[in-house]
Symmetry: C2
């Protein structure tokens, strides 16, 4: 394997560390040397993406581009970013590098197809900024999906606090509120639910398996990375 995957992470750090675990476990490998070389640039100092988009907080783009430069220098052949909200700056990052940046929403779409959901009504959970930027609604809409999102009340009382719990290492506490909102989306007609913030699959993994298809954007991006590498 002469390809090196660059991982622009730290957003949050638990999600990108878990991405590295899943990337490894999803690789067909019999020994160390069969695995994919990777460099994880884990910079949790990147200014908060949601605050930047919704509350005119500090711009994360300079820190994101610093990470892109670091991964270029480290010899990466492509970049994966296990943070959905950071994809609000995808165009600016892609314009700034010759390396392909794997898009997490495309990875989620591939995950939905893998789960047997090629179109139709789906639920999308994510940060308030990801939903406000319509990252999923637009890109998946073009592929024939109709995206249901949580209500503002569900976001404020359940999803946003649960994401913050994971970032503060209180992962188990995040399960109940996230599972409740996922179930509510299915009751409203979703055939599957996209966990469109990389903290959300960590919380959802901390409790009983949900009885409907969930597209995990950590696993989806790991599979897209392995496809890029030719596994």
């Amino acid at each position: 394997m002469d390809k090196v995957l660059g991982v622009l992470g730290g957003m949050g750090p638990l999600a990108s560390a878990h991405f590295m675990v899943r990337l490894t476990l999803l690789t067909p490998a019999a020994r160390d040397q069969d695995h994919l070389p990777a460099v994880l640039w884990s910079d949790p100092r990147v200014p908060d993406r949601t605050a930047a988009r919704l509350r005119a907080g500090e711009d994360p783009l300079p820190a994101l581009l610093c990470g892109v430069r670091g991964l270029e220098a480290a010899g990466a052949g492509a970049i994966a970013i296990p943070c959905n909200t950071a994809h609000g700056w995808y165009a600016e990052m892609q314009a700034a590098t010759r390396l392909p940046i794997l898009h997490i929403v495309d990875a989620a779409a591939a995950e939905l197809r893998r789960l047997g959901v090629p179109e139709g009504r789906i639920g999308v959970m994510g940060t308030a900024a990801t939903l406000a930027m319509r990252l999923y609604q637009e890109r998946l809409g073009q592929l024939g999906y109709d995206c249901l999102v949580p209500s503002e009340a569900e976001m404020a009382s359940r999803v946003t606090p649960a994401i913050a719990e994971v970032k503060a290492n209180r992962v188990a506490e995040a399960y109940a509120p996230l599972a409740e909102v996922a179930r509510a989306l299915v009751v409203r007609g979703a055939r599957a639910v996209v966990l469109g913030c990389t903290e959300i699959p960590l919380g959802i993994a901390a409790g009983p398996v949900l009885p409907f298809p969930v597209a995990d954007t950590i696993d989806g991006l790991a599979r897209a990375s392995l496809r890029w590498a030719g596994y």
Copy 2:
């Protein structure tokens, strides 16, 4: 936090990914920006350390030094290496960089003290090369520990195959043989057992908790890294 931890990993890749998870979970943090910035250089192509030491296999030092250079260029302030066997090349790596390299055996000693085992007879499990190089026996011997190691038969039939299982992503299969050898060391008089190969705590975590103190060198190195960073 203006420090950046460099992690020379990929040996194996699951162990270094799990190191990043534990580093994150052991950090007192309320939000992304409270976590420690880190760069993980995960290069599973590094030639097999055990084969190099015991069977005159390809020298891993050039690949290790390439990783050290990469971490220097990425702005690391110290280097942690979540692979015990690679510490057989510690002196050469430390001589080649101004960055401090945190020594995993010192981290294991700190972990033993944290577990209430400040001296005495302990068991040490590791690769055949780690034991043959006497990495633990010498360095812990100077601190007042008396190191019991598995027999050659236990190494050949239990420990070495279990380490290979983890590197091939068959983690659950590694529990029984590793737990059996750890128990045998306690029967022979060990007060605690050092899991002195970073694949071993992954296997041991896949089954019931052992009823004696075990010093996990992944957690120990993560705690040493956080102490270096001033957490």
